[in-house]
Symmetry: C2
Subunit: 376 residues, 2 copies
C-alpha cells in the first residue's frame, strides 16, 4: 500500500553555494572545493549583497525596499547582485528592527467545513493588494486549542487578528483585548465583541427562516442539526432565533434530531429517515447546514415524497454545491465572502493607527427559496 523510495540525491546547484564558493556538483565528477555535506547552510545577508555590489548595507537595504533616493546606477548594480546571489531578505530581522510585521492572523475552527475556506478566500483576496499576508490557525472547535493558537499568533506580533466567533475563553479575550492591534471577530454579531465584529446575526437568520416557513403554510416543523453541546454557537443561536419566532406564531419545533461526525450528506439521509419514521406528520425539515439538507432532500425525493407540496426543506449557508442537485434546496446565504472582505478591510485600513476602535458590520442574510419551500 505504501512504497517508499529513497532517492538520496543531493540538492546541489552551483548557484546554491553562493558566489564566494566556487565548486562543482559532485554528480559531474569535477573537483569540488567543499564537501557539500559538511557545509552548514548559511543564509545570505545584506552584507553579502553589499560586498558583491560594492555599496553599503544601508544602500542595499534601501534599494531592496524601494525606500529613499538611490541613483539608478547603484540601484541596478544592487538588484543585479541580489538576483545573482539569490538573496532573500530576512523578514525576522527586518520586523524586529522596524517593529512592523505584514502578517494578519486568521483563526478558524476547521478547514473541513467549506464555510471557513470561503471566508478565507474573501480575506486573502482583499489583503492581496495591501502587502499584508494572512496566516491561518485552526482551533478544531476547542477553546483551549484556540487559546494556544491566539498566543502563538500574537507572539509573532501580527498587524491584526481575525477570529471566528464571539465566544472565547476568558484568557483568550484578555489576550485579544491587550493585543494592541485590531481584532475582528467574524461570522456572528450576536454578542459583545472584543474590538470589531463582522458577520450576520444568526438569531435573526433563524427568525427569518421561521417566518418564511410559517408564511408558506407549514406547521409541523422539525429541526435537524449538529450535536452542539458547547461548540457550535452559531447553530445554537440560529435555533434559538428560529424557536423564538415560531413561538411568536404559537408554534414550536415538533421534533429534533442531532448528529456528529461522518459524511454530512449520508448523515442527512439517515437523520431524515429516522425523524420521519418517528414523527410521520412532520411537514417541514429545517436543517442546520446545507450538506445534511441535501442528503435529506435526496432521501425525500427517492421516497417519492411530494416536495415542497407535502413536505418542505431548508438548509443554511448557501453553498454553491446545491446548484447541481435535482432540486434547489431552500437556504439562507451567510455572506461569507463579504464577511471575509470586510474583516480584511478593517485590518488593512487600521494599520498604524494607535487607537483601537470597535466597529460592527452586520450583513443581512438573504433567503434563497429554491424549490423546496411552497410559494406563499
Amino acid at each position: 500500500m505504501l512504497a517508499i523510495t529513497q532517492a538520496g540525491h543531493l540538492a546541489c546547484s552551483s548557484e546554491a553555494l553562493g558566489a564566494n564558493n566556487r565548486e562543482s556538483c559532485p554528480a559531474t565528477g569535477i573537483p569540488v572545493t567543499r564537501p557539500p555535506s559538511t557545509e552548514p547552510h548559511r543564509a545570505l545577508t545584506l552584507r553579502d549583497v553589499s560586498e558583491v555590489s560594492g555599496v553599503s548595507e544601508m544602500t542595499v537595504s534601501r534599494v531592496l525596499r524601494n525606500r529613499g533616493d538611490v541613483s539608478e546606477a547603484t540601484r541596478t548594480r544592487v538588484l543585479e547582485a541580489a538576483r545573482r546571489l539569490g538573496y532573500v531578505p530576512n523578514k525576522i530581522a527586518g520586523a524586529l528592527a522596524s517593529q512592523r510585521v505584514n502578517l494578519v492572523g486568521v483563526i478558524i475552527p476547521s478547514l473541513s467545513n467549506m464555510v471557513f475556506p470561503e471566508v478565507l478566500s474573501g480575506i486573502s483576496e482583499t489583503l492581496e493588494d495591501t502587502g499584508l499576508q494572512p496566516v491561518v490557525g485552526v482551533s478544531n472547535y476547542q477553546g483551549d486549542r484556540e487559546e494556544q493558537v491566539i498566543y502563538e499568533m500574537l507572539s509573532w506580533r501580527p498587524s491584526g487578528l481575525i477570529i471566528a466567533g464571539l465566544e472565547h475563553s476568558e484568557a483568550s479575550r484578555a489576550m485579544l483585548a491587550q493585543a494592541g492591534v485590531p481584532v475582528v471577530e467574524i461570522m456572528d454579531i450576536d454578542g459583545e465583541p472584543v474590538d470589531s465584529a463582522v458577520g450576520i446575526s444568526h438569531r435573526r437568520a433563524g427568525r427569518k427562516m421561521a417566518e418564511a416557513i410559517v408564511a408558506a403554510g407549514y406547521r409541523r416543523i422539525a429541526f435537524l442539526g449538529t450535536h452542539m453541546p458547547t461548540n457550535d454557537h452559531r447553530a445554537r443561536k440560529r435555533l434559538e432565533g428560529f424557536e423564538e419566532a415560531l413561538a411568536g406564531f404559537g408554534l414550536s419545533v415538533v421534533d429534533r434530531e442531532f448528529y456528529s461526525g461522518g459524511s454530512a450528506l449520508a448523515k442527512g439521509r439517515e437523520m431524515t429517515e429516522t425523524i420521519l419514521k418517528r414523527t410521520p406528520d412532520i411537514d417541514f425539515l429545517y436543517y442546520s447546514n446545507d450538506m445534511i439538507g441535501a442528503g435529506g432532500l435526496l432521501y425525500c425525493l427517492e421516497q417519492g415524497l411530494d416536495v415542497p407540496g407535502k413536505i418542505g426543506l431548508a438548509g443554511f449557508n448557501g453553498v454553491e454545491l446545491l446548484d447541481g442537485l435535482p432540486r434547489r434546496l431552500a437556504t439562507m446565504d451567510a455572506c461569507r465572502l463579504e464577511t471575509g472582505r470586510a474583516a480584511a478591510e478593517i485590518i488593512a485600513g487600521k494599520r498604524a493607527t494607535g487607537v483601537v476602535g470597535g466597529e460592527v458590520v452586520e450583513f443581512e442574510p438573504k433567503l434563497q427559496p429554491g424549490d423546496t419551500i411552497r410559494k406563499a
Copy 2:
C-alpha cells in the same frame, strides 16, 4: 443590506501598561500617572517581567521556555508575574537570536477545492505535537503568484516548506533549492523533485483506472474534466496515463469534454448531457474529479440510464461526500491525508539536520469500485 455600527471604544486597561506605568514628567521630574487614552500601546518585554518578578531577564527567559535548571520558587514567581502582566513573548526577537523558527510553510493552489484543505489537515495533525506550526500560502494556480508566495515564506526562514506539485517556475525551483531547509513537493511524484516528494503517481492512477474499466468490458470510453491548458498538471498526467493504458488495449478515448469555473456538480450534469447527446454510444464516462462525476451520476440516474449496466462512471479523489449519493460513484483515492502526514513527518524529522537529502514517498492510489462500474 449592510449596516455599520461605530462603537468606538478604547481597548485599554491599567494592567496592559505593565507595572511601570508610573513615570516622571520629563520637564518637572514630578511623578505623574499618564492618562490611559494617550498611552500608545507598548508591548511588554522580558524586562517588564524581570522587573516585576525580581529576577534577571535571562532567568525569566529560561522559565518561559522550560530551559535549564530553575528553582521551583523562582519559576513560580516568574510565571505568576508573566501571567499577571499578560506577557506574550516576542517570537520575532526569539527567532532572530536563536536562528530557529517553528514555522513550516505550506503552499497550495487553492482553498476552494476540498482536496487541499484535506492535505492540510494531515499536515497540521502531524505537526501538532512537534511544536511546529503550519503557515498556509495560496497560489491561485498561478506560477508568478507561487513565486511570490515562496519568496515571502522563505523570508520568514521557516523550518521547512511543503508545496503542492512538481511544476514550478525556474526562479521558484532555484529558491526552493537554495532554501537550506527541507522542501517537500506533494500530491504528485511524476517528475523530478527539488528535494523530497510525497504523493501518488497520477499517470499510474490513470492507467489503473483504464485497466479496471476495460476489464469490466467497457469499450466506448469518454473523458470529462477541467480545462487544463497549463495549470492542472495532475489531471493532465492522469489523462496521459489513462490514454496510454487504453492504447495498450488498442483503444482510445472516443470523446472528451472540458469545463472551467462554476459549480462542479452542475457542470458535471451539463457536460454529461452535452457529451451523451453528441456521442450517444458512449458506454463509460471517466471524470477528472468526483464532484463533476457526482453531477454526471445524478444526470444519468434521472435520465433512467442503466448504471452500471449500459453505462459506467468513475471519478477521482475519493471524497467523503460521495457517501450520501443515491449510488456510490467509482473513484480512486488520492491518499490526501496520508500525503499530508508523510510530508509533515519528513519536515519534522529533518529538523536541525544540515544535510539536504531527498526522499520520495509514493502512495498507491486505491480503486474504490462503488456501484457505477460493472463487476468484471
